[in-house]
C-alpha cells in the first residue's frame, strides 16, 4: 500500500544524524577555511566520528556487520550529512554503497573473508571504484539514437600471469581514492572482455595521487590511480554478475545518493536564507515581509520539496523492482529523472537563496557562495544533463543498444 510514513528507525537515524551535523559538523564546516570553495581540507575528524556512528557501513548488511540500511535510508542520511558538509557526505555514501555491493553481493566467501575484517576493523578504511580513464569518452552525445556506442575499450589492461593478474594503466576521477583501502578496478582482460579486480591499496605497482580540486568538479575526495605492472592474486577477480550489482546506471535507476547530497546543499542554503530574511530589515520591515523576497523563498521551498519527493521515489524504487513490475511505478529511468530535475532546481534555489543576502551572498567568509558553488558541482558532476536527457529520450522511445559494461561511475 502506498505510504509515505517513514519507519521509526528512519526517523530516528535522521534525528541522530541531524543532531550530529548540528553539533559536530556545522561548527567546523562554517569555519572560513572550509568556506573556500576551491581548496578546502577534508574534515577528517568529522569523518572518523561519522564512521564511529556507523555511517561508513550504513548500507552494509547486518550479517556482515553493517546497519543494513535500504537506499531510501541512505539517501536520508546523505542529505542530512550534506546539510553540514558535502565532502563528508560524499565519502561516506561512496564507501557505504560499495560495501553493500562488494561484500553483500559480489565477493566470494573467500574474498569476503580476506577483505571484510580489515574493512570493519578500521574506521578510516574506505572503498573506491575505479572506472573512468583519461581521455575515455563516456558521453552519449553524437551517438544518440545511433547504434554506435561511445564506449571505447577500457585501456587499463590485466594480463594473467600464473596465479596473478598484472595490471597496467591509469584510472582517474576515482572517488575516495586518497582514502580507500581497497579498489574495485575495471580492467580490460582480453579481447572484448572487461572484468573487475580487487586491488588493495598496498599492492605493489599501484600509486595513488589526489586530484587537484581546482581542475576537477566533485564532492568528497578524488584521485588518480597509476598501475605499473601491479600484481594481484588471481582470486581477486570479481564474479561476472558484477554489472547489475554495481550498476543500474544504464537503466537510469542507480541509487540517487548524489541527488540526496545535492538536496542537503540546497536545504543548507534555504535554511540560511529563511533565517536571514526574518532578521534583516529594509524598507521598514523584515525582508521576508516584502513580496519579492517572500516569493523567492516560496520558489526555493517548492523546488526543494519537489526535488525531495522525486529523489525519494527513485531511492525507494531502487530496492523495489516489484513496483515496476506491477506498474505502480512508471517504466522510466527514475534516478536519471531525479538527477535532471534536482540538479537544475537546486542550483537555482541556491542562487536565489544567495540573492536574499545581497552583497553578503558573494562573500567568501559567508557560506552562501559555497552553497552555490557546491550546487554547481552537482549540476556538472558526472554525465551532463544534456546527455542525461538524451538517455531519457532513448528510454522513452524504447531504443536499445548493446549494454555497456559496469557504468556506475559514469553516472
Amino acid at each position: 500500500m502506498y505510504n509515505l510514513q517513514l519507519s521509526p528507525e528512519q526517523l530516528e537515524i535522521r534525528d541522530t544524524v541531524r543532531d550530529f551535523v548540528t553539533e559536530e559538523v556545522k561548527p567546523l564546516a562554517l569555519r572560513p577555511e572550509r568556506l573556500e570553495a576551491r581548496a578546502r581540507p577534508l574534515l577528517s575528524d568529522v569523518l572518523d566520528k561519522a564512521s564511529q556512528l556507523g555511517l561508513r557501513t550504513l548500507a552494509l548488511s547486518e550479517d556482515a556487520g553493517g546497519a543494513g540500511a535500504d537506499t531510501l535510508t541512505s539517501c536520508i542520511v546523505t542529505e542530512e550529512l550534506a546539510l553540514g558538509d558535502p565532502d563528508v557526505a560524499a565519502v561516506l555514501a561512496r564507501t557505504s554503497t560499495l560495501a553493500h555491493a562488494l561484500f553483500d553481493r559480489l565477493m566470494t566467501p573467500e574474498q569476503t573473508a580476506r577483505f571484510l575484517p580489515p574493512f570493519l576493523a578500521d574506521d578510516r578504511y574506505h572503498l573506491a571504484l575505479a572506472q573512468l580513464e583519461p581521455d575515455r569518452d563516456a558521453a552519449l552525445g553524437i551517438h544518440y539514437h545511433r547504434p554506435e556506442t561511445s564506449d571505447a575499450d577500457v585501456k587499463t589492461t590485466a594480463v594473467r600471469a600464473g596465479d596473478a593478474w598484472v595490471i597496467n594503466g591509469v584510472k582517474d576521477r576515482v572517488a575516495n581514492a586518497p582514502l580507500a583501502g581497497l579498489f574495485a578496478v575495471e580492467v580490460n582482460s582480453g579481447p572484448g572482455g572487461t572484468g573487475i579486480l580487487l586491488v588493495p591499496r598496498d599492492a605493489a605497482g599501484l600509486s595513488v595521487r589526489e586530484s587537484d580540486h581546482r581542475r576537477h568538479f566533485h564532492h568528497g575526495v578524488c584521485g588518480e590511480l597509476v598501475f605499473t605492472d601491479c600484481q594481484v592474486p588471481a582470486e581477486n577477480l570479481l564474479g561476472a554478475e558484477r554489472e547489475d550489482a554495481l550498476g543500474g546506471a544504464d537503466a537510469g535507476r542507480h541509487a540517487p545518493l548524489d541527488q540526496a547530497l545535492n538536496l542537503g546543499i540546497g536545504r543548507a542554503a534555504y535554511e540560511a536564507a529563511l533565517e536571514y530574511a526574518q532578521l534583516r530589515v529594509q524598507g521598514g520591515r523584515r525582508i521576508i515581509e516584502h513580496q519579492a523576497i517572500g516569493t523567492k523563498l516560496a520558489e526555493i521551498a517548492v523546488r526543494l520539496e519537489v526535488a525531495r519527493t522525486v529523489i525519494w521515489e527513485a531511492a525507494w524504487a531502487c530496492d523495489h523492482p516489484e513496483a515496476f513490475a506491477d506498474r505502480s511505478l512508471p517504466d522510466l529511468p527514475l534516478s536519471r529523472i531525479a538527477k535532471v530535475y534536482a540538479s537544475e532546481a537546486i542550483y537555482h534555489a541556491t542562487k536565489d537563496a544567495a540573492e536574499c543576502f545581497g552583497a553578503m551572498g558573494v562573500m567568501r567568509d559567508m557560506p552562501l557562495q559555497k552553497y552555490v558553488h557546491d550546487a554547481l558541482v552537482c549540476l556538472h558532476a558526472g554525465a551532463s544533463n544534456s546527455d542525461a536527457k538524451l538517455r531519457i529520450a532513448e528510454a522513452l522511445a524504447g531504443y536499445r543498444r548493446p549494454a555497456r559494461p559496469a557504468a556506475l561511475a559514469a553516472e
Binding site: A139, G141, Q282, G283, M363, Q369, H373
Partner: protein, 330 residues
C-alpha cells in the same frame, strides 16, 4: 537611424581591444586566483591603462579629460571586460564619479580635485553610500520609517564637518584617493532631506580603510570598509547644498533612480563577459570532438550556442541604444 560608429568611437574601441588582449588577459586568471583580497590589485595595469586614457576618459574636455560620450564608454567597458570584468569595472568606476564631479561640483572643487585626478595615473575614485544596515533603504527609503537609511553622521564645527560612522562594500575603497561620502547631516529628517554629500580625500585625518571584502568574484575590483572616527572634512568639500545629497540624481538629469551610468556600466561590462564566453564556447565546439565528430555537429550544442549568441546580440543592441539615449538625454 545609423548604427555606424564614428572614427573616434572606433578608435577607442580598437585601443581597448588591443590593451585587453595584450595586457589584461595575460594577468586576468592569475590575479583572480590570489587568495588574499588585499593582494589582488596590480598597479601596473592601472598605470598602463591610465596612460591610454581608460581612467580619465569620462572627464569633460573643458576640464582636461577626453570627454567621451556614453557610447564610447560602453564600447570600452565591453572590450576591457572581455579580458577581465573586474579590471574593466575598476577603470569604469572612476568614470562613474567623473560624471558626478562634472554634474555636481563647483568650479573651485573641480579645479581642486580634477587636476590631481588627471595628473596621477594611480588616482582612483570611489563613493561611499552603503552601510551594514542600509542597503536598498538608501535607494528607496520607506515612507513610514524616516530613520531608515544610512547612519554615518556629519556634524558641523565652524568651517569643518566631523564625520563618524562606517561604510561597507565600497568599491575602490582600498585603492582610491578621493571619495564622495553621503552622510546624515540632519538626523531628524528623512534620508532624502537630511543627507549631504562630501568630498573626502584618502588622507583626511580620522578616515581609514577597514577590511577588504573577500568576494567570490570580481577579485581585482576591491570593495572595502571606510571608517570615520572624528574625520575632519572642510566645509569647502560639501558637494551641492547641505541636506541636498539627492540633487545628484534628478536635478542632474538622471531618471533611472540615481544610477544612470551605473546601470549602463553593469550591462556593458556583462556584454563583454558574454562576448568572451560565446567565443570560448564556439572555439571549443569547433575544435573538441566527441565520438569522433566535432561538438558543433550536435543539435544540443548548436541550440546552446544559438541561445548564447541570441542573448548576447540582443544585449549588445540594447546596451548601445541605452548608451546613445543617455548621450541624447532621451
Amino acid at each position: 537611424m545609423d548604427f555606424t560608429l564614428s572614427n573616434e568611437q572606433r578608435s577607442w574601441q580598437m585601443t581597448a581591444r588591443k590593451f585587453a588582449e595584450e595586457e589584461i588577459r595575460p594577468i586576468s586568471v592569475q590575479r583572480d586566483e590570489i587568495s588574499d583580497p588585499r593582494e589582488t590589485f596590480d598597479w601596473e595595469i592601472i598605470k598602463k591603462g591610465s596612460r591610454l586614457g581608460f581612467r580619465t576618459m569620462a572627464v569633460p574636455k573643458e576640464w582636461g579629460g577626453h570627454g567621451t560620450d556614453f557610447v564610447t564608454q560602453a564600447l570600452v567597458m565591453t572590450e576591457l571586460a572581455k579580458a577581465d570584468s573586474a579590471i574593466s569595472k575598476t577603470f569604469s568606476q572612476c568614470w562613474k564619479w567623473s560624471h558626478l564631479i562634472a554634474a555636481t561640483c563647483t568650479d573651485e572643487q573641480k579645479r581642486r580635485f580634477l587636476q590631481p585626478f588627471l595628473e596621477d595615473d594611480t588616482y582612483l575614485l570611489g563613493k561611499g553610500i552603503s552601510e551594514p544596515s542600509a542597503g536598498s533603504d538608501n535607494r528607496l527609503p520607506p515612507a513610514d520609517d524616516p530613520k531608515a537609511g544610512l547612519k554615518l553622521r556629519a556634524e558641523r564645527h565652524g568651517d569643518e564637518w566631523i564625520l563618524n560612522g562606517e561604510k561597507c562594500f565600497i568599491a575602490n575603497a582600498s585603492v582610491g584617493k578621493l571619495f564622495f561620502i553621503d552622510a546624515r547631516t540632519d538626523p531628524n529628517a528623512p534620508l532624502k532631506q537630511g543627507t549631504t554629500m562630501f568630498l573626502v580625500p584618502r588622507d583626511t585625518p580620522g578616515f581609514r580603510i577597514g577590511k577588504v571584502f573577500n568576494k567570490s568574484g570580481w577579485r581585482f575590483y576591491q570593495n572595502a570598509e571606510l571608517i570615520f572616527e572624528n574625520a575632519r572634512v572642510p566645509h569647502a568639500n560639501v558637494v551641492g547644498p547641505v541636506n541636498g545629497s539627492d540633487m545628484k540624481t534628478q536635478q542632474a538629469g538622471d531618471r533611472t533612480g540615481g544610477d544612470l551610468f551605473g546601470d549602463l556600466e553593469l550591462a556593458a561590462n556583462a556584454l563583454g563577459v558574454c562576448d568572451d564566453a560565446c567565443g570560448m564556447a564556439l572555439r571549443l565546439a569547433r575544435t573538441k570532438k566527441q565520438g569522433g565528430r566535432l561538438l558543433f555537429e550536435q543539435q544540443v550544442v548548436q541550440l546552446k550556442l544559438n541561445r548564447m549568441h541570441l542573448l548576447t546580440e540582443a544585449l549588445r543592441s540594447f546596451v548601445m541604444r541605452v548608451a546613445w539615449e543617455h548621450d541624447h538625454k532621451l
